[in-house]
């Protein structure tokens, strides 16, 4: 009985939360369609999301590609399949590692910042001040951030993938001694435009998840510093978990449109 009650309340909370996210998304779509877009704010957010995430994305992509290439080489070398390392690294970076790791890093860096900023505005009555001045918080705060994330995330994913592949190539060719011509040839043979399309689509979807979870947590943060801290933590945790869960379903769906393999 207790278990049933627990499961029931958990399911209700989950649906309630998804409902909040859906409501915020619809309000944002409405804002984008019916009110003038604040491009100056959107550009500022693109700078925050895109430019200021460079170090995180470069380090994540570079070292993930490098270590993945090394591990793949160690295993494949036993089977004399050294030249296949490039293909494995490239396909993995495009279809999974690039989008997911970029999503997780951006959820941590940008999602937390967004949630903390909006949450602080809420507890210091700045959101009420916006409303009292006749400005809808979704128009002013959420819509520009959503635009910035939808533009920046696919580009960050592409950057992460590119750097990961190059780092993998450096490790395989320069450190492990794999013949570069075979490495590149196999990589080109097993990757195609559909892999890039899948990476960019995932980046776009993860960007939407991150921005709406972060903004929702900020807008709903309770009074006080503790509330803002909790909202920030939850923005990162929920955003990261959603990325991992949605990634599975997205992979299954996108594989229909962008099938893997040759």
């Amino acid at each position: 009985m207790l278990l049933l009650r627990f499961l029931g309340s958990t399911a209700l909370s989950l649906f309630g939360y998804l409902g909040q996210l859906m409501f915020l998304m619809l309000e944002t779509v409405r804002s984008l369609l019916t009110t003038p877009i604040r491009w100056r704010l959107a550009l500022h957010q693109i700078l925050e999301v895109g430019y200021r995430s460079q170090l995180v994305v470069i380090v994540t992509g570079g070292f993930t590609g490098a270590v993945f290439a090394a591990q793949t080489y160690f295993q494949f070398h036993r089977l004399s399949m050294d030249t296949a390392v490039g293909a494995v690294v490239a396909v993995s970076m495009f279809r999974e590692l690039g989008p997911v790791l970029t999503g997780l890093m951006v959820a941590g860096r940008v999602g937390a910042a967004m949630s903390a900023e909006i949450g602080t505005m809420k507890v210091t009555e700045q959101l009420d001040a916006l409303r009292s001045l006749g400005v809808h918080p979704v128009d002013y705060l959420v819509a520009p951030r959503a635009i910035a994330m939808m533009i920046s995330m696919p580009l960050l994913v592409a950057e992460c993938v590119g750097i990961g592949i190059k780092a993998g190539q450096f490790v395989a060719v320069k450190l492990m001694g794999v013949a570069e011509v075979y490495y590149v040839n196999y990589m080109e043979k097993f990757t195609a435009l559909r892999d890039l399309e899948m990476a960019l689509t995932k980046g776009f979807v993860f960007g939407i998840l991150i921005v709406f979870v972060a903004c929702n947590e900020g807008l709903r943060s309770k009074e006080g510093a503790v509330g803002v801290g909790r909202a920030t933590t939850e923005a990162v945790v929920i955003g990261s978990l959603l990325i991992l869960v949605v990634n599975f379903f997205l992979t299954m769906i996108l594989n229909i449109f962008f099938p893997g393999g040759r």
Partner: protein, 245 residues
């Protein structure tokens, strides 16, 4: 200009407002006084639609606002400005950007017009020369003045003040009181001031409403309030808690 009928607000088990009826005429200044936790700030937030009542009606210039959606309230709020207790200045913007914010949001793009209007608003609140400062670098009194300048720059018909002198020293409080009166005289705005500062109430009030446990306990002129022999009101005026050492 602004009226409230049968306003009640319940949050959880707690009854915050219990059937408030109020009417404020154009150009009038109503001061709402009462002890901390009596529901003054909650009442003020209902007047501009920042909170939704459990029951009752709120009218702004004859238009009923309870039940309107957020986007329907936005144009109405441009006729009623609010100065928040904590000032609620946008901390990522300079003083000038804060004051210019309502103008820009109203669609004004001409930098010269914006600059002139901001300069005029700063002159009204005696803050000329502080345009480029960030809110974090302002004193409490200066923040209140900037908040006031931001409210009045678009010339709302009515201004709501939430504890305008709270946390300020007596001299700065006095200057804020003069400012409220000056704005009322200069622009003829209707004002509703929530305070527990009796000096502020004495200086700015045309009418006073004493809120006690979520209901209007007294309504009338300030002199009538002073003349009242009701012990509750006298305790409030004299600042007597009834506690002994």
């Amino acid at each position: 200009m602004l009226s409230v009928k049968g306003l009640t607000k319940q949050i959880g088990e707690q009854q915050i407002l219990r059937g408030i009826d109020l009417e404020v005429d154009a150009g009038e200044t109503l001061v709402i006084i009462g002890r901390s936790g009596s529901g003054k700030s909650v009442l003020l937030k209902h007047l501009i639609g920042l909170m939704t009542p459990t029951s009752g009606q709120v009218y702004i210039e004859g238009k009923q606002i309870v039940g309107l959606k957020e986007r329907q309230l936005l144009p109405l709020r441009k006729t009623v400005g609010m100065m928040f207790q904590g000032c609620a200045l946008f901390d990522a913007m300079t003083v000038q950007e804060n004051i210019a914010f309502p103008l820009r949001e109203a669609g004004e793009r001409d930098p010269k017009i914006i600059h002139d209007k901001v300069a005029q608003a700063l002159e009204v609140v005696d803050l000329t020369g502080h345009e480029q400062k960030m809110p974090v670098n302002l004193s409490g009194g200066m923040k209140k003045r900037v908040a006031l300048a931001r409210v009045v720059i678009t010339r709302p018909h009515c201004v709501l003040y939430d504890e305008p002198t709270a946390g300020l020293d007596p001299v700065v409080s006095d200057s804020i009181n003069h400012l409220i009166r000056r704005l009322q005289k200069r622009f003829g705005v209707t004002s509703i001031v929530v305070t527990h500062d009796m000096k502020c109430a004495a200086y700015v009030a045309d009418k006073v409403a004493y809120l006690h446990e979520g209901a209007i306990y007294f309504y009338g002129a300030f002199d009538e309030l002073l003349a009242s022999d009701d012990p509750l009101i006298q305790d409030f005026i004299e600042g007597r808690s009834g506690d002994s050492d």
